[in-house]
C-alpha cells in the first residue's frame, strides 16, 4: 500500500469531492431542510387557523352577549314602562276616587245646608205664625180690657213671656 504525498493534486479526486458536496447538498435539502420547513409551515398554518377559530368564537360570544344585553335592557325598559303605567293608572284612579269623595262630601254638605235652611225657614214660619197668633190674641185681649198704665206694662210683660214660652 502506498500513500499520497502530503500535498498532491488530483483533478478527478477534486471533481469527485465537488460532486460529493453537491450530492450532500441535495440530500440535506430533500431529507432535512424541506421536511422541517414543511412542518414549520404546517404548524404556522395550524396556529393561524386556531387563532382564526378563537377570533370567530370570540366574535360569536360577543354577538350573543350583545344580544342578551339588548334583550335585558329591553326587559328593563319594559318593566319600567309597566310600572309607570301602573303608577299612572293608580294615580288617576286615586285622583278620581278622591274627587268623587270630595264631590260627594260637598253634595252632602250642600244637602245639609239646604236642609238647615229649610228647617230655619220652617222655624221662622212657625214663629211668624205664633207671632201672628200671639198678636191676634193680644189684640183680642186689648180689646177686652181698658187700658191703663199698669195694665199696659203687665200686658207687655205677659206678651213677652208668652213669646218666650212659645219660643221655648
Amino acid at each position: 500500500m502506498q500513500n499520497l504525498d502530503v500535498i498532491s493534486i488530483n483533478i478527478w479526486d477534486t471533481l469527485i469531492s465537488l460532486a460529493n458536496l453537491i450530492i450532500l447538498y441535495l440530500i440535506v435539502k430533500k431529507f432535512l431542510y424541506k421536511p422541517v420547513k414543511n412542518v414549520l409551515k404546517a404548524r404556522q398554518n395550524e396556529i393561524e387557523s386556531q387563532y382564526n377559530n378563537a377570533e370567530n368564537a370570540e366574535k360569536k360570544a360577543n354577538e350573543s352577549r350583545e344580544q342578551w344585553e339588548k334583550m335585558l335592557s329591553g326587559a328593563n325598559s319594559k318593566s319600567d314602562e309597566i310600572i309607570k303605567n301602573a303608577t299612572d293608572t293608580a294615580k288617576m284612579r286615586s285622583e278620581t276616587i278622591v274627587n268623587e269623595a270630595k264631590e260627594r262630601a260637598q253634595g252632602i254638605v250642600r244637602q245639609a245646608e239646604q236642609e238647615a235652611i229649610l228647617e230655619r225657614k220652617k222655624a221662622t214660619d212657625g214663629i211668624k205664625k205664633e207671632i201672628v197668633e200671639v198678636s191676634s190674641a193680644l189684640t183680642s185681649k186689648l180689646l177686652e180690657r181698658e187700658i191703663n198704665k199698669d195694665d199696659h206694662r203687665t200686658l207687655i210683660d205677659e206678651f213677652i213671656e208668652e213669646i218666650g214660652e212659645s219660643y221655648e
Binding site: M1, N3, V6, I7, I9, D13, S17, N20, L24, V36
Partner: protein, 294 residues
C-alpha cells in the same frame, strides 16, 4: 410517546445503523490495511486503488472513502432527525432538527440577505461535511479535510457560485467589476479573484492537517518522554507509554475538535461572504424592478 409502534422503532434503528455502520466499516478497513511501522511518518491519505483515467489516474484513497462514510452518516442523520415529524407535541430530535434549520436560516439571512435564503441547505451540507470530516480524526480515521483535493473541490464549487452570481447582471457587468476602482487595477483584481478559492482551500486543509501533524508529533514525543522517565520500571511496565494516556486526548480537543469545527464554520462563513459580496445586488434589484414596471 412511549407507545411507539414497532415499525417506527425498527426504522429508527435502521437509521442509527446507517449513521454508525459506515464509520465502523471505515475503522475496520483502516486497521486491516494500515502498514505496520514504527516512528513518525507524516504522509497523505492511503491509496487503496487507482482507476486509469485520461490526464491523471483516479485515485481511490482513504480521503475518498472517508468522505463517502461521512456523507452516508449525514444522510442517516438527516433521515433520523426528520423521522416522525409532527406539528405539535414534538420530540427532542425534532427540536434539534428545527433548531439546526432555524439557526442556519438566521445565519444565512443575516450574512447574505433574504435573497440568498435558498443557500441555507447548502450551508448546512457544507458545515456537516466539513465538520464531521474533521471530527473523523477522533476515531483514528484519516480526516478527508486534510487532503487538499477534497477541500479544493469545495473551494472550486464556491468559486463557481461566486462567478455565477457575479454574472447575474450580464457578462458586461462582470467584466466591468474587474476594472474597479480603476482599470489599472484589473490584473490585481483577477489575481484576487483566483486567490479566493485557493486561499479558502489552503486555509482549511492546512489547519486540519497541521492539527493532526501536531497531534502525531505530541503523541510520539510523549511516548519517548515516557520511555525516558519511566523506562526503569521492571518488565512490561517499562514498555507502557504512560504519558500517552490522557494528555494527547486533551490536546486533540483543541487540535481536532475545536480547530476542525472552527474551520468548518470559517469555510461556510467565507462562502456566504464571498457569494453575497460578489453579487451586485443594487444593480440587480434595480433592473428587476424596471423589468416588472415594463
Amino acid at each position: 410517546m412511549k407507545n411507539k409502534s414497532r415499525r417506527f422503532v425498527l426504522t429508527d434503528i435502521l437509521y442509527i445503523a446507517m449513521m454508525i455502520v459506515p464509520v465502523i466499516i471505515g475503522i475496520v478497513i483502516k486497521t486491516m490495511t494500515r502498514p505496520v511501522g514504527d516512528g513518525v511518518s507524516i504522509t497523505g491519505a492511503q491509496v487503496y486503488f487507482k482507476i486509469p483515467m485520461p490526464i491523471q489516474d483516479l485515485i481511490i484513497s482513504e480521503s475518498q472513502i472517508n468522505s463517502l462514510i461521512v456523507m452516508i452518516s449525514v444522510f442517516g442523520l438527516c433521515l433520523y432527525l426528520t423521522h416522525g415529524l409532527k406539528t405539535r407535541n414534538i420530540s427532542k430530535r425534532q427540536h434539534l432538527a428545527e433548531w439546526i434549520i432555524e439557526k442556519t436560516d438566521n445565519m444565512v439571512s443575516s450574512n447574505m440577505g433574504e435573497f440568498f435564503i435558498s443557500f441555507s441547505p447548502f450551508i448546512i451540507a457544507m458545515l456537516a461535511l466539513s465538520g464531521f470530516s474533521s471530527l473523523l480524526t477522533l476515531l483514528g480515521l484519516y480526516a478527508p479535510t486534510s487532503d487538499l483535493n477534497i477541500v479544493g473541490g469545495w473551494a472550486i464549487l464556491v468559486f463557481i457560485l461566486i462567478t455565477y452570481y457575479k454574472f447575474k447582471c450580464g457578462p458586461l457587468q462582470y467584466m466591468k467589476s474587474f476594472a474597479e476602482p480603476v482599470a489599472l487595477l484589473a490584473p490585481m483584481n483577477i489575481i484576487s479573484e483566483i486567490a479566493t478559492p485557493v486561499s479558502m482551500a489552503f486555509r482549511h486543509y492546512g489547519n486540519v492537517l497541521s492539527g493532526s501533524v501536531i497531534s502525531v508529533l505530541i503523541a510520539y514525543a510523549l511516548g519517548n518522554l515516557s520511555n525516558l522517565l519511566l523506562g526503569f520500571l521492571p518488565g512490561v511496565l517499562g514498555d507502557i507509554p504512560f504519558l500517552r494516556i490522557g494528555i494527547p486526548a486533551v490536546l486533540s480537543i483543541y487540535f481536532d475538535v475545536f480547530s476542525g469545527l472552527l474551520q468548518a464554520y470559517i469555510f461556510a462563513m467565507l462562502t456566504m461572504m464571498y457569494v453575497s459580496g460578489g453579487f451586485p445586488s443594487d444593480l440587480y434589484f434595480k433592473r428587476k424592478n424596471r423589468k416588472i414596471k415594463n
